[in-house]
């Protein structure tokens, strides 16, 4: 196997006296679907924020596609190919569904500020290209009928989907999903699992998933890492994780017998 797409090496971050993520080492390969689980407050979202450049690690290193990412800003990391969604949906609320995705095509636009002012041929061609790409994405994910609606007026499940599509519009190589199943009903969760698999296969990208819902995590992840109090306590296949004594003790509880966890 060649070098992994994402490599965390003893990544650590402290806030004052609190170590939120401690010496976290893991890797995600190209086109791999990895789950990151752990009890509330275990540091999963903080790990996401480290990977996406929202926080800088206190120590340790992070590499993406072979390049060290420490010191880069989130928008530069998106440029390299890391896109994400948020635990509490963060769409552009004053924009339509269409414009939400259009805004995320910024980094692949070739026409700039002067073209926007001059409104010449380069601008028109550039805008047409962007619009065609947005329409294509909307059609693939069947959001084209709602394209003119305000993002905030969509049903909850569609908002989650739109957030994933918006992340895809940046053409990522690694997609980070932060609790995409939160607040969904069982049908929506099934749809989501199908959607994540579809995205991974169609765009050949890697997915790193933070999720509380054991059915979703166990159902789609190829490998799972478990955090507790900021430390990785286990990593392995879903079957291994389900049988891992420390994981059962720390987190899974009832799910160890094959049922869903209490907070799922």
């Amino acid at each position: 196997m060649s070098a992994p797409l994402l490599q965390l090496d003893a990544a650590t971050i402290q806030f004052g006296g609190l170590t939120a993520v401690s010496a976290f080492t893991t890797a995600v390969a190209d086109n791999e679907l990895v789950g990151l689980i752990g009890p509330n407050g275990a540091g999963k979202t903080t790990a996401f924020n480290l990977i996406t450049g929202v926080y800088q690690p206190t120590s340790g290193s992070i590499r993406f596609a072979g390049q060290p990412t420490v010191g880069l800003k989130p928008n530069q990391l998106t440029r390299l190919g890391i896109a994400r969604t948020f635990q509490n949906i963060r769409l552009f609320h004053s924009m339509s569904v269409f414009d939400n995705i259009r805004a995320a095509t910024q980094l692949h636009r070739r026409h700039g500020i002067l073209d926007a002012l001059w409104r010449g041929r380069a601008h028109r061609a550039g805008e047409r290209e962007v619009e065609a790409r947005v329409m294509e994405l909307l059609e693939i994910f069947s959001l084209d009928k709602q394209r003119g609606e305000l993002a905030k007026s969509l049903p909850y499940g569609d908002q989650r989907r739109l957030e994933i599509v918006r992340a895809l519009a940046t053409k990522p190589r690694l997609l980070l999903l932060d609790e995409p199943a939160a607040g969904m009903n069982p049908t929506e969760k099934d749809d989501l699992m199908r959607l994540i698999r579809f995205v991974k296969d169609r765009y050949q990208i890697a997915v790193l998933l933070v999720e509380h819902d054991m059915k979703v995590v166990m159902g789609i992840c190829e490998r799972i890492a478990v955090l507790e109090y900021g430390r990785k306590i286990a990593e392995g296949s879903p079957q291994e994780i389900q049988r891992h004594p420390q994981v059962i003790e720390a987190y899974l509880g009832a799910a160890a017998s094959g049922k869903e966890s209490p907070d799922a």
Partner: protein, 311 residues
Amino acid sequence: MSLPGAKRWLLLGIALAAVASHFAHSPELGLNRYYLGVAVDVGIAIILAVSLNLINGHTGQFSLGHAGFMAVGGYTAAKISLLISPAGEAAWGFPLALLGGGLLAALAGLLVGIPSLRLRGDYLAIVTLGFGEIIRVAVQNMESVGAASGLKGIPKYTTLGWTFGLAAITIYVITALVNSTYGRGFIAVHDDEVAAESMGIPTTRYKVTAFVTGAFFAGIAGGLYAHHKQFLSPTGFDFLKSIDIVVMVILGGMGRTAGVAAAAVILTLLPESLRAFSEYRMIIYSLLIILLMMLRPQGLFTFQRKQGGAS
């Protein structure tokens, strides 16, 4: 607004301004100088409000320093004009003076923009407020621009045509900027900075661009003002002036160019029309603003955004 023929509209606007100006200023027509003066005030207010709207409305930053940028532009332009021809006989130098004022104001926008980008909301408002006051106090102590007693004898170059031509350009530039894939970055920063950054939008660069562009046009407005009133005094650029412009932006519906321009017209004419009630003028003005804000908190001219998204 889609802008297929936007450039044509811009040219039409400038042409109309020039024609209107030609007739309005011709002595045969003998238009009342007071009304002409108010009309120029209106045009300057439109430039100020529409340019602040890029910063406060579209990009969602809270600047209280617009009068400061206006002062930088006004004093610079006035000084340039006085250097070219102290007697005011070189109207050809006017565009140079305006451009110089705009560029120096833009530089001030860059200087204020960079450090204040780490700040949000109220904190940014305080920093920009402080900047405006620094400019005012600095001017008050600069002998070369008349210090506290003001800068007198600025040539009267500003006409209706210059004012509304430049107002048309301001509206065009800011509308064209925002209604493009490039410009949607401003609105993304306004809606959710964290999400914008994660979508690959360099939020810092967008905020600086908003400050620099907004300041540039505020500087142009300052230059027009200087050559309109023919007198500049630091007290004219205190923070109340900034507040006036902020009120126009809020009343017009943050981020709606047409609404903000209309609010600039109304809020300039309103105090003028209340001159008859001189003692109660400011009280009535304030009450009206309170009423308007209570009745239309979303802005006077805000309606549901059109399908397809752009304003």
